[in-house]
Amino acid sequence: MAAPAPILRMSGIGKQFPGVKALDGVDFRLLPGEVHALMGENGAGKSTLIKVLTGVYDIDAGEIELEGRRVAFSSPLAAQQAGISTVYQEVNLCANLSVAENIFIGREPRRLGRIQWKKMRRRAEEILSRLDLDLDVSAPLSSYSLAIQQMVAIARAVDIDAKVLILDEPTSSLDAGEVAQLFRVMRRLKEQGIAILFVSHFLDQIYEISDRMTILRNGTLVGEYLTSELSQVELVGKMIGRELADLEKLEGRPPAREAAPLVEAELLGRTGAIEPFTLTIHEGEVVGLAGLLGSGRTEIARLLFGADHAGTGALKIDGQAVSLRTPRSAVARKIAFCSENRRAEGLIPDLTVRENIILALQAARGWTRPIPRRKQDELVDKYISALNIRPANPEQLVRNLSGGNQQKVLLARWLILEPRLLILDEPTRGIDVGAKAEIQRLVAELSDGGMAVLFISAELEEVLRLSHKVGVLRDRRLVAELDNDESLTTDRLTETIASGAIS
């Protein structure tokens, strides 16, 4: 098969950050009409490569050719005008504007300087219908789910005469049906000859949609492969540079010891968020929550952490009735919560890794009792190496870290508090296989050490692997509580989620 000439070719790309070599001599090419997966662990250089390509960063070495011509983009806008459009993991649209406005923002159809609203709405509808979407284009974007917002971002991207479409983890917050819809859209774009660069941590999705993949490790190129010629096991091995039996090691965990109940929620609920539910978490127990996006998983977590007020019901900790009015009071009772929304609800991007890690401990002590600097360094160094946070520089601004490492910083923040109940909301979302295994192993160790964990994840395998018992949610209601014994399989979980009843 004679391969068509690549539409995009990057060769010998190098990029240096203070103290880190983010990319070193990386080659990459993209053929028209293919879906090309960019694979690698967190910090392998995927995001940097994309940012170099789209003009967010300068390159220090190497060159980029688009359709045979050498280019250097000074800004994402310049890249977009040349036909390279990007849709990021976190939707970068204006939620308060309408769908149509979002699609046409900055390039509204005008006549005599006046915006032609009617034409704009009609064209927006056309564009969306090409992607099999039927939306009210004059409704504010915020009235649609994250998945739909993502599709709108893609619609906007491809309408700008895109030759290359970059999708940076578009599926990390979508459920299965939405992923299928996205893939349908991607296949259609592919038929139109658009080259798609796809980044995802879900291996199954990579194998379903991509034709070819390029693997990076530690900022260097491992190689380019046809997806059909590389098995999943080989892929993972190449990504992390070692065989991955780690994930399997967790199988056959000892059952939780008979322990005292730590947190008991009785008919706890909040109107519009979650129907009253009853749930008991014992010391050393991992309780998984399974359910679709928006089924009320996060809402349960927020009630147990005092981030929202419960409207009904009662909460007992150590058998004593408590009312958690603020996160602060939950922290005082040794409950910790890692939000799924790292950027908005977790990290302070302008502070350093060290400051982010000690933040919760400092908050608990109050500002009049500062943590001595030596103690801070000790704690931070300990967790940077225990969680393998890279780069291992405590004075690095947290905004400069990759997603997985940011997640670890957030985990470290809570772990130094030595909580009794750790609530993890999608801790492995958008994280590569290696870091995922590390975090799963950590959860197992913590629970063996007596810490209770509430583990929320969209990946049922993961929930099953870690949990002692699984709460199943559907439509903002806790519909079932299943013990994780031999009989519980992902199929049975899926069925319970789908039917809303214990099978």
Binding site: F17, P18, A72, S74, G346, I348, A363
Partner: protein
């Protein structure tokens, strides 16, 4: 050299030095500091002395701005504190009684604290946007100050009170000593204790801070209270220097100068990281500018225009984006020539 250039206080220092150098050209002996009657005299001393109230107000403003808030009411608090202190002192039988003056100062500062708590409650408790919440006190407070002084200028004749803004102690103007103490105290609270970290955290991401167990409400009330207290002290200084209280004009527009000082000092109006040293430099730059305008003889009718011009230049020089544009214009070749072009960049 590059490290020196990249230091975040490089530009404020450079601007201050440039302004001082300008003065040296126009005024002989500008840098001369001499001893008269056991007191230090000189233009440099005057700049710090007259700038003292602005430095105080700016310090409080820095912390408020670091939480991504703003306090427009400081000018009114300046007027209220001065008015109340002068009213109390003028009612004293013996205006020179130290106890009486201390009592008046205490009452004025206590009211400032109450006003700060009020601002803090509006912002943190009710959740009104800071600019609106403090606008209330900015307008109402001016009225309150006039109410206290009955719309008149209240004059006092009290030597202990005069010390605060116009007196000397240990050869230095007393106001400079007050500023030094407040600055040291602020630095201690924010940098030695952990208040600074919590303020920067709340300013950087309020929701994430709340979910980390920080009492954002407590932090906000603390900074607004601190800001009003600083404004109160500044108010005492201003009224003491002229031995009178003017409810209409004391501290008028000082909030704008203070915001400007904070911004020149490199603290972002979006909140987050703040720099106390930068703010002090910023306030000194503004005061030096005022002095410069007089010393180089800018015609009075163009004073405001001249000031605006300099401030614009200062702000532009402070902006990394602007410097990037002007000083590195040829950094990114738009259409790269086939000639292999070495891109030399100092540690990106």
């Amino acid at each position: 050299m590059t490290r020196f250039l990249r230091h975040r206080l490089f530009w404020p220092v450079a601007i201050l030095v440039a302004l001082l150098a300008l003065n040296l050209v126009f005024t002989d002996n500008f840098f001369r500091v001499q001893m008269k009657d056991g007191h230090l005299y000189g233009s440099l001393i005057d700049i710090v002395r007259f700038g003292a109230p602005l430095i105080l107000v700016s310090l409080g403003m820095t912390l408020v701005i670091a939480t991504s808030g703003i306090d427009l009411s400081v000018g009114s608090v300046v007027a209220i504190a001065g008015a109340l202190a002068c009213l109390q002192i003028s009612d004293l039988g013996d205006q020179n009684s130290i106890g009486g003056v201390l009592g008046a100062v205490g009452i004025a500062l206590a009211l400032s604290v109450v006003l700060g708590v009020w601002n803090g409650l509006l912002v943190a408790g009710i959740g009104i946007q800071p600019i609106i919440a403090t606008l209330i006190l900015m307008v109402a407070g001016r009225g309150l100050a006039q109410l206290i002084t009955d719309g008149q200028i209240t004059t006092v004749n009290s030597s202990p009170y005069k010390l605060i803004g116009g007196g000397y102690w240990l050869t230095l103007p007393f106001s400079i000593i007050i500023v030094a103490v407040v600055l040291a105290l602020t630095a201690f609270l924010t940098r030695r204790l952990a208040l600074g970290l919590l303020i920067e955290s709340v300013g950087g991401n309020a929701e994430a801070s709340r979910l980390s167990g920080i009492s954002a409400r407590g932090v906000l009330i603390t900074v607004y209270t601190f800001c009003a207290l600083c404004a109160g002290i500044a108010g005492l200084m201003i009224s003491s220097n002229v031995s009178s209280a003017d409810g209409n004009n004391a501290g008028l527009w000082i909030e704008l100068d203070a915001i400007l000082a904070v911004v020149i000092g490199g603290t972002s109006l979006a909140g987050g990281r703040f720099s106390l040293g930068g703010t002090v430099l910023g306030a000194l730059i503004i005061q030096t500018l005022t002095t410069t305008i007089y010393s180089i003889g800018v015609p009075p009718e163009t004073t405001l225009l001249f000031k605006a011009l300099v401030v614009t230049i200062v702000c532009l020089l402070q902006s990394p984006a602007f410097r990037e544009k002007v000083f590195h214009r040829r950094r990114r070749p738009q259409a790269p020539s086939p000639v292999t072009e070495e891109k030399v960049r100092v540690s990106a």
